[in-house]
C-alpha cells in the first residue's frame, strides 16, 4: 500500500481553450491534513473534481487510494467522504429521503455517529433540502460524508456559510477524525485561520501552478519579506533566485523571497545595502504575496 493517499502527476486541464491547471504535481501522505489554498477560480475545485473522477483531465494522471481517478470503483468511493463546493445535494428531496438514499447506497454506515451529528447540528429531517439555509446544508453534507466512516475526506470549502460556532464544531470534528488511525484529509478553504489551525501541509495554487507545497510550519520560516535600503538607487536586479515579489521605490526595495539562506544573504551583501530588515508576515500576508500576478517594478 503506497504511503501517498492522493497522487497528482503532471495534471493539465483546459476549459474551452483556457488553461486552468498547468502541470500540477502533488502528493498527500496518509495521516496528513492538507490545506489547498488559492484565490477564487484558481483551480482548486477543478483538481478535486478530477481527483474524484467527476471531470476528465486534459493530460496527466491522478490517483486516489492507489486507484486511477478515471477508474474509481464503488468500493473505493465508499472509503471516501466528499463535501462539494456549494454542497451538492439533491435539492428537491426531503432531508429524510436523502439520508435514507445515502444510507441504502453505503457499504458501511455509522448510525450512532450520524444521529449524534444530526443532534449536534440540530438538523430537521422533514424539510426539503432546498429549504435549508446554506449553513445547514453544509452541516448535512458533512454529516453524510462522515457517517460512512471514511478513510479519506475531501472537503471543498466546507465551512462556507457556517457560523462561528458551527465552524469550530467542524474543526473539532476534523481533528477528532484525524486522530483515528490512518485517516487523511484534503481540504480547500478561504478561511486561512482555519487552515493554519488544522493543516499539516499546505499548497497554494496560483496561475495554474502549485507555487507552494510544503509543511505549514516551514512556510513561515522559509518565506521572508525584506525591506532593503541602498545608499544610492536600488539595483534593478539582485540576481537572486525564487523571488516571489519585488517592489522598488527609489532607494528602497521590498522583496519577498522563498527559501532564504546564507547564500542569498551573501549575494545580497555584495550590493552593500545600508540596512536590511525583516518584515514579519502572517499566513494571510504570505498567501497574498504568493498569489499576486507577476511582480512589477514601481519607480518614482
Amino acid at each position: 500500500m503506497d504511503e501517498n493517499v492522493i497522487k497528482v502527476e503532471n495534471l493539465v486541464k483546459y476549459f474551452e481553450g483556457r488553461c486552468v491547471l498547468d502541470g500540477i504535481n502533488l502528493n498527500v501522505p496518509r495521516g496528513c491534513i492538507y490545506g489547498l489554498l488559492g484565490r477564487n477560480g484558481s483551480g482548486k475545485t477543478t483538481i478535486i473534481r478530477i481527483l474524484l473522477g467527476l471531470e476528465p483531465p486534459t493530460r496527466g494522471r491522478t490517483f486516489l487510494l492507489d486507484a486511477e481517478s478515471t477508474e474509481l470503483s464503488a468500493r473505493l468511493h465508499s472509503r471516501i467522504g466528499y463535501v462539494a463546493e456549494g454542497h451538492n445535494l439533491i435539492q428537491s428531496y426531503r432531508v429524510g429521503r436523502l439520508i435514507k438514499l445515502c444510507k441504502d447506497l453505503s457499504l458501511q454506515w455509522n448510525d450512532e455517529f450520524f444521529n449524534h451529528l444530526m443532534e449536534t447540528f440540530r438538523l430537521p429531517t422533514d424539510r426539503r433540502v432546498k429549504e435549508l439555509s446554506i449553513g445547514m446544508r453544509a452541516q448535512l453534507n458533512l454529516a453524510l460524508a462522515m457517517a460512512i466512516d471514511p478513510e479519506l475526506l475531501i472537503f471543498d470549502d466546507p465551512t462556507l456559510g457556517l457560523d462561528t460556532v458551527a465552524r469550530r464544531q467542524f474543526l473539532e470534528l476534523a481533528i477528532d477524525l484525524i486522530q483515528q488511525q490512518g485517516r487523511t484529509i484534503l481540504f480547500c478553504s478561504h478561511i486561512l485561520s482555519d487552515v493554519e489551525r488544522i493543516a499539516d501541509r499546505i499548497g497554494i495554487l496560483a496561475a495554474g501552478k502549485l507555487v507552494v507545497d510544503c509543511p505549514l510550519e516551514e512556510l513561515k520560516e522559509r518565506i521572508k519579506k525584506l525591506r532593503i535600503i541602498f545608499p544610492e538607487s536600488a539595483p534593478p536586479n539582485l540576481y537572486l533566485t525564487e523571488i516571489i515579489n519585488q517592489q522598488i521605490q527609489g532607494r528602497e526595495m521590498v522583496i519577498t523571497v522563498a527559501n532564504w539562506n546564507k547564500q542569498k544573504q551573501t549575494i545580497l551583501e555584495t550590493f552593500k545595502p545600508s540596512s536590511c530588515t525583516e518584515i514579519p508576515m502572517s499566513l494571510e500576508d504570505m498567501f497574498i504575496e504568493c498569489t499576486k500576478p507577476n511582480p512589477k517594478y514601481i519607480e518614482s
Binding site: R49, L54, A74, H77, I80, N88, L89, L105
Partner: protein, 210 residues
C-alpha cells in the same frame, strides 16, 4: 442496486401511473369494441382511436427516457450518486431497468388481454401460432427503441425535442412494418438500432463530466 431502481421509480412515478392507466383504458376499450364487432362495418372507430393512442404512447415512452436523463442533469443527481458507493454503470443500468419496467407495465397487460380476447373471438381474425408473441416482441422493441432515443437525447435537451424525433422515426417504422410485416427482418433492424443507441448513451454517460 435495488435502492437505485427504487429511487428512479419514485422520481418518475408519474410515468408508471400513466402506463398502468393507459393499459387499463386500452383493455376496457378493446373489450367494448370487440363486443360491437361487426364484420360488415369497416373498423373506422378502432383506427380512429388507435392512431392517437399510439402517438401518445410513443411520445410518453420517449419522454420518460428523456425526462430521466434531463432531470438527472438539472438536479445533479448522478453528480451526488457517483460520489457514493455506486458506479456510473450501475446508475445507468438501474435507469434502463426502470424504463423497461414501465414499458412492460404498459404492454404486458395489453398483450395478455389481446391474447385472451383473440382466443375467445377467433376465427373471425386469421391467426397463426406465435403471432401474438411476434407482434408483442416487435411492439416491445419499438417501444424500447423510442425509449433509447429519449435516453440519448435527454442528457442535453429538454424532453420535448427527442419525443418529436421519436414520433418522426416511428412514422418511418410503421410503414416499414406494414410493407415487410412483423418478421425477423424488423426484429433485427430494431435490435441493431437499440444496440447502437444504448452504446452511444453508455459512452456519453461514462465519460461526461458530472
Amino acid at each position: 442496486m435495488f435502492a437505485l431502481i427504487k429511487r428512479e421509480i419514485q422520481d418518475h412515478i408519474v410515468y408508471f401511473i400513466g402506463a398502468a392507466v393507459f393499459s387499463a383504458v386500452f383493455i376496457i376499450m378493446s373489450i367494448s369494441l370487440i363486443h360491437q364487432y361487426d364484420p360488415k362495418v369497416p373498423p373506422v372507430f378502432s383506427i380512429g382511436l388507435g392512431i392517437p393512442a399510439v402517438t401518445i404512447v410513443i411520445f410518453g415512452i420517449c419522454a420518460m427516457g428523456a425526462t430521466q436523463m434531463y432531470l438527472d442533469k438539472t438536479r445533479k443527481i448522478s453528480a451526488l450518486l457517483s460520489t457514493l458507493a455506486v458506479s456510473r454503470s450501475r446508475i445507468l443500468l438501474a435507469r434502463i431497468i426502470t424504463g423497461i419496467l414501465a414499458i412492460l407495465i404498459l404492454l404486458v397487460p395489453q398483450t395478455i388481454a389481446s391474447g385472451i380476447l383473440l382466443r375467445i373471438f377467433t376465427p373471425p381474425i386469421p391467426m397463426f401460432p406465435g403471432m401474438v408473441f411476434e407482434i408483442s416482441l416487435v411492439v416491445f422493441l419499438m417501444a424500447f427503441a423510442c425509449y433509447c432515443i429519449g435516453l440519448q437525447a435527454g442528457w442535453n435537451s429538454n424532453p420535448l425535442t427527442p419525443s418529436l424525433g421519436a414520433l418522426f422515426l416511428t412514422c418511418i417504422f410503421i410503414p416499414l412494418i406494414l410493407i415487410k410485416g412483423f418478421g425477423v427482418h424488423i426484429v433485427v433492424i430494431l435490435v441493431l438500432f437499440i444496440a447502437a443507441s444504448l452504446i452511444r448513451t453508455w459512452r456519453t454517460f461514462m465519460t461526461t463530466s458530472l
